[in-house]
């Protein structure tokens, strides 16, 4: 019998502020331990938190980008637990009055298996709230003790909670990727997963169709999309096997081990989830005026979804091309700058960026911002393709040269003699010569051996040193051969 999978995500994204959420200590990554842990971060007695305006601005932007309700009044609460990476004995978070309420994110899902087609899905966002990050524990060689670095303590986080709307690992990964794209797109987080700026907790349960929700287990702290997919696949199978073997799934927090590909329950104390939330008396309610929201709205760029729709409707691109080009703001910006006003060349421009540019970036281990070719350089080359100055193979040569040595398309075409011959008189002369020199093959062709056409094209191209306009050459050759 079939099982249904139910998945919800909680994503912690580090906000790209200069300073911590409740103090003026720097949040720069990679500093010497505890050099950015000020009196508030280490919770010296008597210190008071003061909320960072930049963190609130980023939360508002996220709310606007997901069409979410933004609370005109929200409240910070203490989440009480003892752990040395947060020396106050509580984390300042938000509980029943979060800054961002219900919203939604529409995603493109690429099914992971079989020939299933990509499809669109809307995932509801329950809420997003501001909170502080904890420090880091080091379990190295410290004479049986634990080392604590509080540089990260107090870094602003936006915790984004989804409804359990996802039904497969593919959907969960697509949602996480879309969210990851969005937070970078609107500039509220660097999204650096290696540095922990984007961490996902995944709630997974299974049930028989029509039955109430099963008991969920929460996979903590996934910081790669690949691991997320592996962890969900493993966990789903584990839950199904457990139930089918007559066992029961118990609510638990679990960890994924990338080395074994398995999930395992964390040892947890029975009181671990008794957080005793209450409003933090050190912080007054956060008020956000409609004017402030409108100010923030004016700073938002065109969002990925709007861009996708515009690429499809106005530029005539396929949904696939549009979604690849909007997978990062850098790529979309590159595409638009390369295209310029040449709307008619959108498809060829998209092909070059999704094809050659991406492949070459990949080979060289670079990202879009490190691309050695500027969008303007690529645009210049595309113009020469469009006006028939160069053929596709000539363009590839121009591209390789640009990548390795720089330079503008026109200069490279000139220097390398890549200008294609579109003078039909010249091409005809060349074709006449070939026909005259290969009378036997021409006879074979005329008696029905169509395959020889390629042979003639090859000869003609060679004779023109690769410069003959291929479409023109084909036409002329065909006409002459048929005599």
């Amino acid at each position: 019998m079939q099982w249904e999978i139910v998945i919800g995500l909680e994503v912690h994204t580090q906000l790209s502020t200069n300073t911590k959420i409740f103090s003026g200590a720097s949040t720069a990554f990679g500093a010497e331990p505890n050099t950015q842990a000020d009196a508030v971060s280490i919770a010296l007695p008597g210190v008071l938190p003061v909320l960072n305006k930049g963190a609130v601005e980023r939360a508002i932007k996220f709310g606007l980008a997901t069409g979410s309700h933004i609370a005109n009044r929200s409240v910070f609460a203490r989440k009480n637990y003892f752990y040395p990476d947060l020396p106050k004995g509580y984390q300042i978070s938000q509980f029943d009055l979060p800054v961002v309420g219900q919203g939604a994110l529409t995603i493109q899902v690429e099914p992971l298996s079989g020939n299933a087609k990509p499809y669109e899905k809307t995932v509801r966002i329950t809420r997003a709230h501001l909170e502080e990050d904890a420090g880091k524990s080091m379990h190295g060689d410290f004479h049986g003790m634990t080392g604590i670095d509080l540089n990260r303590a107090g870094t602003p986080l936006l915790e984004i909670v989804s409804e359990p709307d996802m039904v497969s690992a593919a959907e969960a990964v697509a949602y996480a990727k879309a969210l990851h794209t969005l937070v970078r797109w609107i500039g509220i987080s660097d999204g650096n997963m290696q540095e922990g700026s984007f961490r996902c907790d995944v709630n997974v349960s299974v049930r028989k169709p029509g039955q109430p929700l099963g008991t969920r287990r929460e996979i903590k702290n996934l910081n790669s999309f690949k691991f997320m997919q592996q962890a969900i696949d493993y966990e789903v199978q584990w839950q199904i096997d457990t139930i089918e073997n007559g066992g029961k799934v118990h609510q638990a927090t679990i960890l994924f081990n990338p080395d074994t590909g398995e999930t395992r329950a964390m040892r947890s104390k029975e009181d671990a989830h008794d957080y005793r939330y209450f409003p933090d008396p050190d912080l007054l309610p956060l008020e956000i005026s409609p004017e402030w929201i409108e100010q923030m709205r004016a700073t938002l760029p065109e969002l990925p979804q709007a861009k996708q729709a515009r690429y499809v409707n106005d530029l005539g691109l396929s949904a696939y091309d549009a979604s690849v080009l909007t997978s990062s703001r850098e790529m979309a910006d590159f595409f638009e700058a390369a295209l310029g006003n040449a709307i008619g060349q959108a498809k060829i421009c998209a092909n070059w960026i999704i094809g050659e540019v991406s492949a070459q970036l990949n080979r060289d281990g670079l990202d879009m911002t490190q691309c050695p070719i500027t969008a303007q350089q690529l645009g210049g080359m595309l113009q020469r393709i469009a006006d028939n100055t160069i053929s596709n193979s000539g363009a590839k040569e121009v591209f390789r040269t640009m990548w390795a040595e720089g330079g503008e398309a026109d200069a490279i075409i000139e220097a390398k003699g890549l200008k294609q011959v579109s003078d039909s008189g010249a091409i005809e002369a060349l074709v006449d010569e070939i026909i005259a020199a290969n009378a036997d093959k021409v006879a074979e062709y005329r008696s029905g051996k169509d395959k020889l056409f390629g042979f003639f094209v090859g000869l003609a191209m060679k004779a023109s040193k690769g410069k003959a306009n291929p479409a023109q050459l084909n036409d002329i050759l065909k006409k002459k051969l048929e005599g």
């Binding site: 300073t19 305006k53 634990t146 009181d271």
Partner: protein, 95 residues
Amino acid sequence: MSLSSADVEKVARLARLAMNDQEIQAAQAQLNNIFGLIAEMQAVDTKGIAPMSHSQDLAQRLREDKVTEPDQRAAFQAIAPQVEQGLYLVPQVIE
């Protein structure tokens, strides 16, 4: 509502407070007095009054996102029980 001594013990454990039986008894009595006061307050008709999360009817002031705190690690770590390689050392914690 009133607290049992088991409730008090649980709250003490969550707050990492070591309490003997006598102290638990005393705390139980004091806490139940507070609950008595809360019960009195809850009898007040608050219909139509918006709940407050703070005793002062003010909004949070915000700070500009500018670095203001210098590195004071040496001063802070001078009063820490144990430090090494810039880290604060604490009894081992393993999840």
